[in-house]
């Protein structure tokens, strides 16, 4: 539903386009922030401008400083140097005035889960002094706008991730703000709701509102009017996304016609070429970014086709290129025994929590040396499936087999051939890096010289030298994930379970992880991985799309894309495919009902 500009009568008068161009709504100058006890500064000399009527993307991996910058803008904390001005008010001294004109939606918006949608709105309206007739009108508008009219009486805790974000947005919009700050609004939201949310916020721009949308998804960045790209507290780029893409224009190519079973080897080979700066697997193609002035290296099979650069290519370029294609981790491993039996098998796996069906009849098989991905939004049932496979949850019915065994009752010897990396960081934060490595290697029965060799190798591969004596809990995020991966593979497992291994890390670390995973798979390791990054799923041999607990489609990335291919959409992305298949599944469900 179109959100008419006149819905914000106050806004149209101020902070809008003048003859000289749009007036800046937020001006950040030389902003620095150092947290006490923090190793590196959270923000270093940031200059940025946010304009009214534009969508500004605040882009970067976890720990880049996005939330810190947003909090500084609303005056929730003060910088160590530099200044922030919002609508002419100084954020350090006039935070009250800024709150009057700003809507801020933090990452975990403070919705009261035990209050209904309407009660939550009422509460925030009270806090914002929106009263009387104005309140009723505003509620009407916002409920209509966010499409929550039907759910007024529902408890906020019972809303889906997407609806929660919409309600959070409605609460943030209550005070008729001129500036809207959204901290990772698309996290935990399924792709369809994500698109809806994006569309809603875009409509607000027409009313003259300035919006800052912070995100770790680089594909979202591409759609913003302007982006501020942060990495480890440093601004890498500021401007329209198109100009950033210019930096890699003409350097991105796809190798097509590479043999299916060969693409990982081809990628490894290509990444070792001098001319290649970065490369990824994209379904059956291999996509590379060349160094400046370089030409495409020769291919044994297939041909090079120029591809449109994406934001991630540009980001990697800005960071100085990818990590190379060699995995010393995989090189140190022995080739795993060949078998034509399925290594991982799920049969009608179902899990109910009370009335709630978290996973329904999930069936799949994974062969030796295959990467199988479970792809879906948060809360779709990926982790639940995963835990049932690892024997951490008892399936309500159905069976899970790993190497022919139920892990819940498997022997110690069988479990020592499994590697498991949990979704959130779950090493011992109060032990240092070396103690963690020692503990996990000891836990898997390594000892003596072999243990020492393996630990040394992990330290060298993952660059942990500088951090050996540091408590694992205070490591930078990328190193936490590296340490977690190291701990889960030190015993050279045959089967590797990775639950969101790259969640929140920067693209370079993600590349590095996938280099290791690809290398291990070439040695015959079987990998099961969950992810909510659509692009990351391209590395998988096969994917299961998980939506509302159901496996709605299984196949190779290309098969899945083919299922969604239409005349209107000849080259669908995995996200397009996901959305199409979800819509089909919804339609089928409604048809059946």
């Amino acid at each position: 539903m179109p959100f008419a500009p006149e819905s914000f009568p106050q806004d149209t008068a101020q902070g809008l386009v003048t003859a000289a161009g749009p007036a800046p709504l937020v001006v950040v100058q030389g902003l620095c922030k150092q947290f006490p006890g923090g190793a590196a500064p959270a923000l270093q000399g940031i200059d940025a401008t946010v304009f009214a009527g534009r969508m500004t993307g605040l882009v970067g991996p976890d720990g880049a400083g996005k939330t810190t910058l947003l909090r500084l803008m609303v005056g929730l904390m003060h910088g160590n140097a530099g200044s922030v001005t919002v609508a002419g008010h100084n954020a350090a001294t006039q935070a009250e005035a800024i709150h009057e004109v700003t809507g801020y939606m933090p990452q975990k918006f403070g919705l009261y889960e035990d209050l209904t949608v309407l009660e939550n709105l009422t509460l925030y309206a009270d806090l914002r002094h929106v009263v009387g007739k104005a309140r009723q009108e505003r509620f009407q508008q916002l409920l209509h706008f966010t499409d929550l009219e039907r759910f007024q009486k529902r408890l906020a805790g019972k809303l889906s991730g997407g609806m929660k974000q919409k309600l959070g947005l409605a609460c943030a919009l209550l005070g008729n703000p001129r500036l809207l700050l959204l901290d990772e609004p698309s996290v935990g939201v399924d792709p369809i709701s994500r698109r809806e949310l994006w569309g809603m916020v875009r409509e607000l721009l027409d009313g003259g509102m300035g919006v800052v949308w912070s995100t770790a998804y680089l594909d979202e960045a591409e759609k913003c009017d302007t982006v501020i790209l942060l990495n480890q507290g440093v601004k890498l780029y500021d401007g329209p996304p198109k100009s950033l893409l210019q930096s890699v224009a003409g350097r991105v190519f796809q190798a097509r016609g590479v043999q299916e079973h060969d693409r990982r080897r081809v990628l490894t080979h290509l990444l070792q070429q001098e001319s290649v700066m970065d490369g990824v697997i994209q379904g059956r193609y291999v996509r590379v970014t060349l160094r400046e002035g370089a030409t495409t290296p020769p291919l044994e099979h297939g041909e090079w086709v120029a591809a449109a650069p994406c934001f991630e290519d540009a980001f990697i370029n800005a960071l100085g290129g990818g990590p190379g294609g060699r995995s010393r981790l995989a090189e140190s491993m022995e080739v795993k025994p060949v078998t034509d039996q399925a290594v991982i098998k799920a049969q009608d796996l179902t899990k109910c929590f009370g009335n709630f069906v978290a996973v329904k009849d999930n069936t799949f098989r994974i062969a030796r040396g295959e990467i199988f991905g479970l792809l879906g939004p948060n809360g779709a049932g990926k982790s639940t499936t995963f835990k049932m496979m690892c024997g951490l949850l008892q399936p309500t019915h159905g069976k899970a087999f790993v190497m022919g065994l139920d892990l819940k009752t498997a022997t110690s010897a069988a479990r020592s051939r499994i590697g498991y990396m949990a979704q959130k960081f779950s090493l011992y934060g109060q032990l240092n890096v070396l103690q963690n490595l020692k503990f996990f290697s000891g836990l898997y029965g390594l000892g003596g010289r072999l243990q020492k060799e393996r630990i040394d190798l992990m330290v060298s591969i993952f660059d942990l030298h500088a951090y050996l004596g540091m408590n694992a809990g205070v490591l930078p995020l990328g190193f936490k994930q590296r340490l977690a991966l190291a701990c889960s593979v030190m015993h050279h497992p045959d089967v590797l379970f990775l639950d969101e291994p790259t969640s929140g890390v920067d693209p370079i670390t993600r590349r590095e992880f996938w280099t290791h995973i690809n290398g291990m798979v070439e040695k015959g390791v079987t990998v099961m991985v969950t992810t909510h990054f659509m692009d990351e799923a391209e590395y998988c041999d096969r994917i299961g799309f998980i939506y509302r607990g159901e496996n709605i489609a299984t196949g190779s990335p290309d098969d899945l894309k083919a299922m969604a291919r239409t005349a209107a959409m000849p080259e669908p992305t995995l996200e397009d495919a996901f959305i199409t298949l979800v819509e089909r599944s919804d339609a089928a469900r409604e048809g059946a009902a």
Binding site: F353, L392, L407, S412, R415, Q435, K438, Y444, G445, G447
Partner: protein
């Protein structure tokens, strides 16, 4: 087999590191029990000292005065309040400014002299029942002593029976001799339960428990790895308090040290069983702490430390048999004060062994039972 020892070693090493690596945790393990030992020993006493008593002496004779003098001379009654009328007594008692009032009637001396006998009235503050009883005992014994003296000097017949008091094991009824040995057990219990209750719950909360469950550790290895470090910590803590009791508080230790060590060890093992059980049914540290308190408070109050077990209703006495502190207090006090023989110590050790086995088996079973 080698792999088994490596796994156990890794797990025990990790447990000890989590407990002793952080200086803050180290201090928490040592400082509060020591402070509690000193504070409880001096403050948590049931002895009646420094009490105030009111006297309403309406008698003008010498006997009334003599009696008042004797009460006033007792070191227990540090403050005497002399009142002139019954009406003055009421607010004093009401506001708890005195614990007892001694009322000597106008005809007291006359009654004594005439040989017909006389009585005094003692009014007590029933709200402080325990202290009141003790005060009543003190005053009664003063009065008895005085009446015996009178009958002796007046040449009357001595009373037919006399009580001669003799306190065994603690001749001077020094209260510290009772509290400090009990505190050895109480404080060892506090620290052991807290350490173990948090151990699994912390791992569940942080997600590391799942890492352990998917590892090659089998349940009983996990149990062993969790149990041994906790036993070590609780046992050492107990021994440390024993050492302080003997050296600083000068509590006589008359029994066998080996028997005391054995009692402490079995006691701590039974506590580890309970603590791990609490931990294995909690999913967060907060729940574990709540669970620990739900266990600790009744365990201490119903153990016989604060009030005699015999005073409790029969069914509670039976139910209280599952409380390891109740079993531990008897031999620990016994070994300190009366050189308890091995056979009597054993009579209290085996119930704790049963509690230990049940607790450890239950927690082991809950370990393997996955979250849902």
């Amino acid at each position: 087999m080698i792999a088994f020892f490596r796994r156990i070693r890794a797990l025990i090493g990790k447990e000890l590191l989590t407990l002793f690596r952080d200086p803050k945790v180290r201090i928490i393990l040592i400082a509060p029990p020591m402070m509690q030992l000193f504070i409880f020993s001096f403050a948590a006493t049931l002895e009646v000292k420094n009490v105030s008593v009111a006297v309403l002496n309406q008698d003008n004779g010498k006997h009334g005065l003599a009696l008042v003098h004797r009460v006033a001379a007792s070191p227990t009654f540090t403050r005497m309040v002399f009142v002139q009328s019954q009406a003055e007594l009421v607010p004093l008692l009401d506001e708890q400014r005195i614990i007892a009032a001694l009322h000597i009637a106008p005809d007291f001396s006359r009654g004594v002299e005439s040989g017909q006998g006389a009585s005094v009235q003692l009014i007590m503050d029933g709200r402080r029942s325990n202290a009141a009883q003790i005060v009543s005992g003190y005053i009664t014994s003063i009065i008895t002593a005085y009446s015996m003296e009178i009958s002796k000097t007046s040449g009357g017949t001595p009373p037919p029976a006399l009580t001669i008091e003799r306190n065994w094991f603690n001749e001077n009824l020094i209260y510290l001799w009772f509290t400090v040995p009990s505190l050895v057990a109480v404080l060892a219990m506090l620290i052991t339960i807290m350490v173990t209750a948090l151990s699994v719950a912390r791992e569940k909360e942080l997600g590391t428990f799942e890492q352990l469950l998917v590892s090659p550790l089998v349940p009983w290895e996990l149990l062993l790895g969790k149990t041994l470090p906790a036993i070590l910590v609780g046992f050492c803590e107990g021994l440390m308090i024993v050492a302080i009791s003997v050296t600083i508080f000068r509590i006589p230790f008359t029994g066998s040290f080996l028997l005391l060590a054995a009692t402490l060890l079995v006691f701590v093992i039974s506590l580890v069983g309970i603590g791990l059980f609490l931990s294995s049914i909690s999913s967060t540290q907060q729940q574990a702490i709540l669970g620990a308190f739900v266990f600790l408070v009744p365990a201490v109050t119903l153990s016989g430390f604060a009030s005699p077990v015999e005073n409790m209703p029969h069914w509670l006495q039976v139910a209280g048999l599952v409380n390891p502190l109740r079993h531990a207090l008897i031999p620990i006090k016994g070994l300190f004060l009366k050189n308890m023989p091995a056979i009597d110590v054993w009579a209290n050790i085996w119930p704790m062994l049963i509690i230990a086995v049940v607790g450890l088996v239950l927690s082991g079973w809950f370990f393997t039972r996955r979250l849902e």
